[in-house]
């Protein structure tokens, strides 16, 4: 009886620890910038750093989509990224600026997933590492 209980106890604790372990690719915005910097240098040998100003312009520049719509990153993330944005389906999107939302740019896989989707949606192409870095730099710079 006692042995059985011990075994079961062991089994259950093993089970729960396996169930509760979460793996996310945690990072900081600065670490992400380092990764994009390495990539940007490969893409462009004359890479000369990221610029918050350029990122701000990128964020707000409207593009004419092939469907005729005018879209920019600001369409959903609003022209003031310290504020809440809104998706097309009317769901609140939490602010993009780090100062207003420290959760941003802390999960590499999530960041890459959304860059990949939203760049295709807005620009109808992938974003370059330079553009991604400028964009993050801009969102870090907002106070």
């Amino acid at each position: 009886m006692r042995k059985n209980i011990m075994l079961l106890g062991l089994l259950s604790s093993l089970l729960s620890s396996a169930l509760f372990s979460v793996n996310v690719l945690a990072a900081t915005p600065q670490e992400l910038l380092k990764q994009y910097e390495a990539q940007a240098k490969q893409e462009n040998p004359s890479f000369a750093g990221f610029s918050a100003d350029r990122g701000g312009v990128f964020f707000k520049t409207e593009h004419t989509h092939s469907t005729g719509q005018q879209v920019s990153c600001a369409t959903c993330h609003t022209t003031d990224p310290r504020k809440q944005g809104k998706s097309r389906a009317n769901k609140v999107i939490e602010p993009m600026a780090i100062i207003a939302n420290p959760q941003r740019f802390t999960d590499t896989a999530k960041v890459e997933k959304w860059f990949s989707r939203n760049c295709k949606d807005v620009l109808e192409r992938s974003c370059t590492a330079q553009e991604k870095g400028d964009y993050i730099q801009y969102l870090i710079s907002l106070k």
């Binding site: 006692r2 079961l8 106890g9 089994l11 389906a89 769901k91 990949s116 949606d121």
Partner: protein, 227 residues
């Protein structure tokens, strides 16, 4: 512990279900009710002559065991749809990946709102999802697809889900819940201008009026149309 392995695979990922049950209020309640009495009963069986150390050990072990088996039993119950059976509220199913990946742009739509063929078609065209790119990596997409299919309208014993399923002609595969005859018939008294209110946006934003929408609760007592 056996229940874990033999309960019907309604949820595609029993681990998730297990986690869900741990966090679920109902399982907490069940635990609170069973643990003290059962525990007393079992410790009574221990021979009085055994020393306290053993008794304390047994007590702790049993408490833990009962906790685990209560949770397991609850998940088995949830998995078999036992709690709501043929009722109106949809089964409280959940899957972590679904929750994260399908809630970024809009509310979570309960799998019981559309039939299997609708979910399959939707999940095979995520790169062009209502004009947006919602694509996922293959592993994540497969897990979510399995979850949606396993709990889809035609597979649920829930009355509402069955009615939704029956309202769709066999040769039609709607991608929108809002296009089903079930939906339109239930909302014929809500005017199109109401759906367009700033606080609502569109008919697809169920949660603006149905507080419990993400849990599959559309009961009339929970309806409130915002100004």
């Amino acid at each position: 512990m056996n229940n874990m392995h033999t309960s019907p695979p309604v949820n595609n990922d029993l681990n998730r279900l297990f986690l869900g049950a741990v966090c679920d209020r109902e399982s907490d309640d069940a635990r609170l009710q069973t643990a003290p009495t059962e525990n007393k009963h079992i410790t009574d069986l221990v021979d009085e002559s055994e020393n306290n150390r053993v008794r304390n050990y047994m007590k702790k072990a049993m408490q833990f065991l009962i906790l685990i088996s209560t949770i397991t039993a609850t998940s088995a119950l949830l998995a078999s749809g036992g709690i709501d059976g043929g009722g109106n509220a949809m089964s409280p199913v959940t899957n972590e990946k679904w929750k994260v990946e399908c809630s970024g742009c809009h509310m979570l739509y309960h799998p019981g709102l559309l039939p299997e063929r609708s979910w399959l078609k939707m999940m095979n065209g995520l790169d062009k999802h209502f004009g947006e790119n919602a694509s996922l990596d293959v592993a994540t997409r497969t897990e979510i697809t399995n979850f949606l299919v396993a709990n889809s309208a035609g597979k649920s014993t829930n009355r509402r889900s069955s009615r939704i399923d029956q309202s769709i002609p066999n040769n039609v595969t709607p991608l929108r819940i809002t296009e089903t005859r079930y939906f339109t018939s239930k909302h014929d008294e809500v005017s199109p201008t109401t759906f367009k209110r700033k606080s609502i946006g569109s008919a697809a934003n169920c949660i603006a009026c149905h507080k419990g929408a993400e849990k599959g609760d559309f009961s009339e007592s929970q309806i409130r149309i915002p100004r």
